[in-house]
Symmetry: C2
């Protein structure tokens, strides 16, 4: 959605509130109910999606403060979009200190109102001019990122093959970036150490790909970057994470289908086309990898995923893999390949796996 469209939605909503008041009716705001009870999982679209339940907020004596706060927040969004500015959640909280009786007393209150607006307009926070506080995600390889030099207004071409041992750090908001690439795939890597090894050896050059370091559970900006890059250029995404329940059900699942708690934005942030390259429980046998015993917490996490997570429940291949891991009672780290030799992962493991992408876990 273009910024001007979002501005239009805000203006339209505000106009309807104004009209109600002028006509002597109580103004209302309608927004989707947020939370797991209003979520549907559609294997076809591939992510947790908001269902149709709506709640209506009517201006009354009791709701006057929160109603005013919603309108002020809409005003802030409109201003931010018009000035091509960006506001972090924390900054929005501090800005509200000037809203007299509509000021927020705690940041969680202002965060909630902002998330309501996301859901109400069915856009993501970044499209409302808001940005997260946290950064994350590094990129190296066969990709030009096209950004704008804000001072001079000219286009900037950022060549991600030209950073040596360093990398391109993904900005907090990626909506305005454009991409040029002829890469065959994106390799999304859990640990910074493995990313650094692959980058030092220019693995992206050997395999014509783009390396992205997730740095643990990927941030919104990192997920959105991968999603847009993959969608717009039709490139597959392969995830390379530790072989443990955290790597599968937290990192990989969040990347692929999003999270249950923020179903109203998964649409923008999930990468449903991602596939898991490894490390799989089967790799432990095939490559005779050193392992660690699963902790109680690991086992609980894996069993929870099998029992309660619509994603893992839906995919037979995942159920089988998780059960095998629980049966084996062990987990494996990305670095375990170093047992064979430092670059075994580059020379043997990754090429062998990439030769049979059809067998990757969904």
């Amino acid at each position: 959605m273009e910024n001007s469209d979002v501005r239009g939605l805000i203006t339209k909503c505000a106009a309807s509130v104004k009209k109600s008041i002028e006509n002597g009716r109580k103004p209302q705001l309608k927004l989707p109910k947020r939370g797991l009870s209003n979520v549907i999982y559609t294997p076809k679209t591939g992510y947790f999606k908001l269902d149709k339940n709506q709640i209506t907020r009517t201006l009354t004596y009791n709701t006057v403060k929160s109603f005013a706060q919603s309108l002020r927040m809409m005003g802030l969004c409109k201003e931010t979009i018009e000035n091509a500015e960006e506001v972090s959640k924390r900054e929005a909280y501090y800005i509200s200190k000037n809203w007299e009786e509509a000021r927020f007393d705690q940041q969680p209150e202002s965060d909630t109102v902002m998330e309501d607006l996301e859901a109400m307009f069915r856009v993501n926070r970044e499209q409302l001019g808001f940005v997260p506080e946290e950064k994350g995600g590094e990129v190296a390889g066969r990709l030009n990122v096209i950004d704008k030099d804000r001072q001079r207004g000219e286009k900037l071409k950022i060549d991600c093959t030209r950073f040596g041992r360093g990398a391109y750090s993904i900005p907090i908001s990626v909506e305005e970036l454009e991409f040029e690439t002829s890469a065959k795939f994106i390799l999304a890597i859990e640990t910074a150490g493995m990313f650094q090894r692959l980058n030092n050896h220019a693995f992206w050059d050997k395999k014509n790909c783009i390396l992205i370091s997730l740095g643990g559970v990927p941030t919104r900006a990192c997920r959105r970057f991968i999603r847009r890059l993959s969608d717009e250029n039709n490139i597959p995404v392969y995830a390379f994470v530790d072989g443990d329940p955290y790597g599968y059900s937290n990192i990989y699942r969040t990347l692929t289908v999003g999270s249950g708690n923020s179903a109203h934005i998964n649409e923008f942030f999930c990468v449903p086309e991602a596939r898991l390259l490894g490390v799989t429980p089967y790799d432990i046998d095939t490559y005779e990898l050193p392992t660690h015993p699963l902790s109680e917490r690991d086992v609980k996490r894996a069993k929870d995923a099998l029992k309660n997570d619509p994603f893992f429940k839906h995919h037979k291949a995942w159920r089988k893999a998780l059960k095998k891991m629980i049966d084996m009672g062990v987990r494996v780290e990305q670095q375990a390949f170093a047992k064979h030799s430092l670059n075994f992962v580059i020379d043997t493991y990754l090429p062998e796996k990439l030769a049979k992408t059809g067998s990757f876990l969904p």
Copy 2:
């Protein structure tokens, strides 16, 4: 220290072990005792430094395994340096799985042996071919980083003014980087959100400086990068952190004088010339900033710093500032300036502070 020198130290040490054995004497390794009991604080050098206490490890029936492990680790370092490779701590642990009886059973054991070698040779881990697992630190502004294209062997000039809203991500090891800059100062920023705001507005262009995002407590690579950049180009470092005991005693203090637990490497990783721009407790009054009450933990951290930390104890200006913060009973965040307007921090606060760097906290 050049890599060839480090290799020489390893060879020399191994030769002396060999000679002892050939002469029928028990071989010995001498290394400094590590820990706070063997640390001196010299305000002149400005960081926690190892004192002279040494321990001697002699090869006996009881020490044969750990002695062998130290020698195998030295061998791994030598190989790594010769092959211009890099090994992470976790990879070293997995490599040891091939050392038969000298293999490590847990990663903390191999980490300790590696840290002993750092202390023994008085070098940092990176100079032994080891790299940390964690990455961190982003850079934007008036700086060219000179790196090498490992595939083609040619020099790569990375212009940190050409990343748009993105940034240059610091690699895990920075020993081989070179710098070209005419910047007047380095601004080291605690939060990714504030870094992004200053970068979006090209603050580095207005003030001819280099922006570095610390992302909380700075990683080794980030601290080493700032140290080398500052030393070799004689540029001052100004820190801009949240105004709370964590920002002062964890983030700023670690950046400036290093940490007590790793005194054997502070020499390489501290930035003794750094100064604190803000946010200071005095700024709360001057700029009428919204605050949060100090938590019990905040108060404890501040009192601990006053009582036990040689750095804060040494500097009168810091004692005064910490006492003022405890008396006020409040802390302040970097984002608090947004109360006045989103870019107040860029248009007013930073320029006013930068006009009187002499008053920065040491």
